[in-house]
Symmetry: C2
Subunit: 400 residues, 2 copies
């Protein structure tokens, strides 16, 4: 008997009609003879609305209580979808995180799955065709509810697929696959029929929101085959698996991430000062993304880094207050974008970097910062130049 | 250390402001040195809204899934109130039914509490001042969530008060006590400072909505002292306990219940036919309230009964279809009211009935039906005469 995990994102459950559509998808798979473990997110913007209701009650709500508030969202979508699926003729039952045996650590709001007790779901699937599980939530050893953080339902789905040795874990959203660039930005972008885990993870980190990077990591670890597909179309999606046939494309995609700020600190006397400065930001829970450090012949150097735009103001103040404002010059560009080219073995192909910079220079884009790894090359550009950058790079690499 | 149970109804939690008000009440009691077990209902009309969302997904949703949907309401109010109470300075934690150890049978939608495991709450109260428990919900032995039916949060509160030997169980709503008649109807109605369980139960059955009759029954069984009081006023409420000092009032209240229909069936040949007719309605899950049967000298008689107005049409059809329409005459008055006088030992005071009928006859009210028990005398009157009936009886008995 085939077992398939299907995860439905919030956009697939937002309206009554969308719910019935998801129910029909489950029914069709069951009719074809498979058992289905369904994992659901909260409907539409429910999570945000719940969060704002909690914040209205207390300036800094306890994380434990926040998780109780938030998990009501997935509870509702699981039970409502179970009712809709039953109406469509599916023999099914809804299960919450604690009922589905999903045990996590106690990091409320960002809990990690520690183990899955498969007993209850196995028991239900003996007599039913589907169980509808609330994603994003679990229970810790103290018996309290936890949530897995943004995109946590993807993680629930992959963890269940791994625990049950499911044939495939299908991730349903409004988007019908992984594209070489955002189709809204680049009409010539191409849907990938396959991509491997590492490249997908980079894409997810770099702004492709359809899949949580932690879930991709987990899928790779347990060899779970993922498929990203649309709940509103019959089109085949994109398969994510090891040794994917990347269709001979060296580059699997071009991504854009906005909402980024760039801060430059000049006049940093030595590397101890540089280290102190980074420690300062880290202590304040400000995560930095790309960090570049350079030093002149006199030992006095510069540090430049990117970070989430929301944290920029706070970072600038912290540096000015604590790091001897007299000697340092801090400049902040609060609105830049990071455009990345993702592919396998980029650094071993020297031609890629050359082609990239050639294309950008031809287009007249001003590159503010560059960072590269085995799997990607990112450039930081002014926000208003980002879309042009995406199109230029896509033209060079995907349709070369 | 005193332990007090406080139950907040939906109207006490409807808005952010109401939530903060409830939080302040909890804080004040904790500051006075008591530990508090709080039990909450869903906010405002949440339960109705959840129910209608579930019905949009399936014509006849499974009762098990309905209970998962519904219990999200109390989950939200418990966690939000816990955040508000913490903000007010209370050391507290929220617990859902399954966490609070409330085990029920599996009658989804109308489950009965079977046992309470006090361990978790005891553990929390060792280090905290309050636990905020989701009312109305429990868990059955299969590990599924159940709900206790309308007014179930009252039952949760009383069951917890009994299990923990609480000093008092306070029922907060918008209403500041039990009155001798609805104050909106009878300006001269008086708030009772005390009332005993049996009379309170009759009042609850007869339309006083502030307290669930099942909860009163449970309170009597375990000797839990109840207090009905307002969350929005400092006024003392009404105490409900055994051997209450009823302030020498023979009568504790006059109630009105509308939404009642009266059906008369004439030409019933014998008592076997009458029995068959009642069985027919019972099989169709139509509950009857007052039933009167009379027979003439020829053995042919009449049955009259009251029932919920919603069921009247269905009952009439059933009788006509199944009970030999030729011989029977069915008439239905779809809009009548039941007005009752409640007190202790009514039947042993023959003067009460006489005074009652005297008052009604003077007022020119047409009594359609009469029924009495040890604790109450009810008259069925036309709906438009009901308010006049309440005022007349209140004048005679409470301000005699």
């Amino acid at each position: 008997m085939d077992l398939i995990v299907k995860k439905f994102g919030g956009s697939c459950l937002q309206t009554d009609e969308a719910m019935r559509n998801a129910a029909a998808i489950i029914r069709d798979t069951c009719r074809a003879g498979a058992k289905v473990i369904v994992v659901v997110s909260a409907q539409g913007d429910t999570t945000d609305r719940l969060l704002s209701r909690a914040r209205a009650m207390g300036k800094e709500p306890s994380r434990r209580e926040l998780d109780v508030v938030m998990s009501a969202g997935e509870q509702l979508s699981a039970s409502l979808l179970s009712i809709a699926a039953a109406e469509a003729g599916v023999s099914c039952v809804s299960l919450l995180g604690w009922q589905a045996g999903i045990t996590t650590n106690s990091a409320y709001g960002a809990a990690r799955v520690q183990s899955i007790n498969t007993e209850r779901i196995k028991k239900e699937l003996r007599t039913r065709d589907a169980v509808i599980t609330a994603g994003f939530q679990g229970v810790n050893r103290a018996g309290d509810m936890t949530t897995l953080g943004r995109g946590g339902s993807d993680t629930t789905a992959v963890a269940l697929a791994a625990a049950f040795g499911a044939e495939k874990c299908e991730i349903y959203s409004k988007i019908d696959g992984i594209y070489t660039a955002d189709p809204a930005l680049e009409p010539e972008s191409v849907k990938l029929s396959e991509i491997d885990y590492a490249a997908m993870q980079e894409l997810a980190f770099l702004g492709v929101k359809v899949l949580n990077p932690r879930a991709v990591e987990l899928a790779q670890k347990y060899g779970v085959v993922l498929e990203v597909r649309s709940a509103f179309s019959q089109a085949e999606g994109t398969l994510i698996r090891e040794n994917a046939d990347m269709e001979k494309l060296l580059i699997s995609g071009v991504t854009k991430k906005s909402g980024v700020a760039l801060i430059r600190v000049a006049g940093v006397p030595d590397s101890a000062a540089a280290f102190g400065l980074l420690g300062l930001l880290s202590d304040a829970d400000i995560n930095l993304d790309i960090i570049l450090q350079s030093s002149g012949a006199d030992g006095v150097g510069e540090i430049a880094f990117t970070l989430e735009k929301e944290n920029a103001q706070r970072a600038v103040c912290l540096i000015k207050e604590n790091a001897g404002a007299g000697r340092l010059t801090v400049t902040c560009d609060p609105e830049v974008s990071k455009v990345s080219v993702v592919g396998t073995g980029l650094q071993s192909h020297r031609g890629v970097a050359r082609a990239m910079f050639g294309a950008l220079s031809e287009t007249g884009v001003n590159v503010l910062m560059i960072s590269s790894s085995e799997l990607r090359i990112s450039v930081v550009v002014k926000q208003e130049e980002a879309d042009r950058t995406v199109r230029a790079l896509h033209r060079v690499f995907i349709h070369a």
